[in-house]
């Protein structure tokens, strides 16, 4: 045996990573709630709850897709551009006509899926590092958007705008849809072969291949789904804007999404993690945003705090990871255990 398994899981950890992340979310809620309370506010007032939920949906869609590619040990830096393009495809296809909504949704999913496919092919067939491949795709899309759309375009009918504005009690519909997509993604990763194989591809490409997995296809599928999630995010943008906007790509949504995924406990190295954690990661970022807003934190201080929280959280996860690399001991630290 020349290669042994990484003994990552040897220690008897009772706490699963996902539980830890939800505990982190709870911690953020408690600390945030206390901070807001000292300022005389109530973080859990309906308005603030609505705000938190609303903020989860857009990043949520992007981060769910991003989880899939990161699980496969890939990356997608083009999602912001795909979302912007999708908002335009949606709005221009609908063009104010309610009857064309299904067509528009189809067109968005098709276009974004094709872009994801291209990303996947660059990575698997051409062997381009995903960072560069998707950065390149992003640039290509940016050029197209800047050239083709000199500003907002298209018209989203009021019915479809409801996707961006309606809520059920205090939960926005877009959040419900996002959670549904998250549930679908969890189900997909757990119950379908392709989804299940994503863990294998990200865990060890060679092992996956030798076990008979078509690794290229799995990776391409992840990229396609990731881009389609970005497409859905684009639909949400269109619904909220009432039009399509190329400018949306300037917001570096991809970095937010990656941060949420990593906060959610998915390893950037692939093979470990999941969408349930990602949802918590997204929620943590949303809670932070709401807390900062309610507390009227200076926008630039927000960036500082956000950066610090992300690093700190990941450092805590990494510490746990470290503890678990210990081999199973045979002897107690002092003397022989018999």
């Amino acid at each position: 045996m020349t290669r042994r398994l990484s003994p990552a899981a040897l220690s008897s950890t009772t706490l699963s990573s996902t539980v830890l992340i939800y505990l982190a979310l709870a911690g953020v809620l408690v600390i945030g709630g206390a901070a807001v309370a000292t300022g005389g506010g109530n973080l859990f007032a309906t308005a603030n709850l609505v705000d938190m939920f609303t903020r989860t949906s857009l990043t949520g869609f992007l981060a769910i897709g991003m989880t899939l590619v990161i699980l496969c040990r890939s990356l997608d830096l083009s999602v912001g551009y795909v979302a912007a393009l999708s908002s335009l495809v949606a709005a221009t296809t609908m063009d104010g006509d309610v009857g064309r909504i299904p067509l528009a949704i189809g067109a968005v999913l098709l276009v974004s899926g094709l872009i994801g496919g291209a990303n996947g092919v660059f990575v698997t067939v051409l062997g381009v590092n995903p960072f560069i491949a998707t950065l390149g795709t992003g640039l290509i899309l940016k050029g197209y958007l800047d050239t083709e759309y000199k500003g907002p375009a298209g018209d989203v009918p009021a019915v479809f705008q409801q996707f961006g504005y309606t809520r059920i009690a205090f939960i926005p519909i877009s959040t419900v849809v996002m959670l549904a997509v998250a549930a679908a993604a969890i189900w997909f990763l757990r119950s379908t072969r392709t989804g299940h194989h994503m863990y294998a591809v990200g865990g060890d490409l060679d092992v996956a291949r030798m076990s008979g997995i078509r690794t290229g296809r799995v990776l391409i599928a992840a990229h396609v789904l990731c881009a389609m999630c970005a497409g859905v995010a684009g639909l949400l943008l269109a619904a909220r804007f009432g039009t399509g906007s190329a400018e949306a790509y300037t917001n570096l949504y991809e970095l937010d999404a990656i941060a949420a995924v990593v906060l959610g406990g998915t390893l950037l190295l692939g093979g470990k993690g999941g969408v349930a954690g990602t949802v918590a990661g997204v929620a943590i970022l949303a809670v932070l945003d709401t807390v900062f807003n309610v507390m009227q934190i200076d926008p630039f201080a927000k960036d500082v705090l956000r950066g610090a929280v992300i690093i700190a959280a990941v450092a805590i996860y990494a510490r746990r990871q470290l503890d678990r690399t210990a081999r199973r001991p045979r002897f107690a630290l002092e003397g022989r255990a018999s």
Partner: protein
């Protein structure tokens, strides 16, 4: 009637100049010559051809109003300057008891974020008036409409939205006037056949696109040659690089800019290349104006009136007092010419370089420390 043999006029018109609307262009150019109503000493309260509307339905007893402000961002020096001015104005109104609490949120130029911010203000139910400086015109429209529907008086300023549901929309004359001021100056001060380089920040932003659309209109009717239009991101290094490259390829006689950020870098490119100064249209940004004075070059500083940041807060208190406001509050927007240069430099002598001459805060109690020591 086959599509092949009919030239598609509509699309060609669209793709040629999506941003150009003749009627608005004509209107703005005309507004430049209209004497605004109100005291010229307080240009932020002046209005061009106002149509006063009644706001008694929003009248509110007892002062101490909670005013909320959804800001697109403070991601550039122009917005930073304005934001300071606005806060100083708020301080005055708080002192006077008109405003009790002033809440703001900053969307960091993210449209979706700003929509959430606006929703959060509405949902909180605490706002007596809502100020919005939209990050993008079209995309914020539904959110602003929703805000109007909530019954809170909504005041939109700077960039507009595609709805007139707001109680008032406050803005200087606009992008066409700005672009035209700059372009006309170049046409007037350059020989026919001279070459002009256009430096733009980024594509797709309406206020900026209107400036360029107006300039194209004017250059098109002139005998100037436009060498090119380049996007610089407002980055000084990028600007200097691009101008240097143009200078390597030939003469550049005039520079048209859609915003003054980095104007000095463009001028330096001429200095470093040993070329004579161009005729230049910058902005009322102080580093440019100081360079202008220092070099004695032929230039103009078009103005996108920064003092407009005072108006919305004042409008809010007026509306909450039930006073009349213009339904569209068009503020004056006069470029700074050579003749006024020395005066404006004198008035802003302590101000930092990325400050805007027509910021209109000289009479506020925080002046000048609030702008100098941030």
């Amino acid at each position: 009637d086959t599509p092949a043999d009919t030239p598609d006029e509509e699309t060609s018109a669209e793709s040629g100049d999506e941003w150009f609307v003749q009627a608005e262009y004509d209107e703005q150019l005309a507004q430049r010559d209209i004497e605004p109503e109100g005291d010229p000493e307080t240009p932020w309260l002046q209005a061009i051809e106002p149509e006063w509307i009644d706001t008694t339905e929003y009248a509110r007893e007892g002062g101490d109003a909670t005013v909320c402000f959804s800001n697109a961002s403070i991601s550039n020096p122009w917005r930073v300057t304005g934001w300071i001015t606005m806060q100083e104005q708020v301080a005055v109104l708080k002192e006077a008891g008109d405003i009790g609490e002033f809440r703001h949120s900053d969307a960091g130029d993210d449209d979706d974020q700003q929509i959430s911010d606006i929703q959060a203000f509405i949902d909180s139910g605490d706002c007596d008036a809502l100020l919005i400086s939209p990050s993008t015109t079209a995309t914020l429209t539904p959110a602003v409409e929703a805000a109007c529907d909530s019954g809170v008086p909504v005041i939109v300023f700077d960039r507009g939205v595609n709805t007139d549901c707001a109680v008032t929309f406050i803005h200087p004359i606009g992008g066409y006037a700005y672009g035209a001021d700059a372009a006309e100056f170049l046409v007037d001060n350059l020989e026919p056949g001279s070459k002009v380089l256009a430096l733009r920040i980024l594509p797709g932003v309406d206020v900026l696109e209107h400036r360029w659309a107006a300039a194209q209109e004017i250059f098109g009717d002139s005998e100037l040659e436009v060498l090119g239009d380049e996007f610089t991101g407002g980055d000084a290094a990028e600007i200097k690089d691009i101008v240097t490259q143009y200078l390597q390829r030939g003469e550049v006689d005039g520079i048209w800019m859609d915003a003054g950020d980095g104007a000095v870098a463009a001028i330096e490119a001429f200095e470093d290349a040993g070329k004579p100064y161009p005729v230049m249209a910058g902005e009322d940004e102080l580093s440019f104006m100081r360079k202008w004075e220092e070099t004695g070059m032929t230039a103009i500083a078009p103005v996108y009136s920064n003092f407009q940041w005072r108006t919305p807060v004042l409008a809010a208190t007026m509306i909450l007092a039930g006073e009349q406001v213009p339904s569209e509050w068009v503020l004056p927007q006069d470029p700074i010419t050579e003749a006024e240069l020395a005066d404006y430099l004198e008035r802003n002598v302590d101000m930092p370089s990325l400050h805007y001459a027509k910021f209109g805060g000289e009479d506020l109690p925080g002046f000048p420390e609030s702008w100098t020591d941030r």
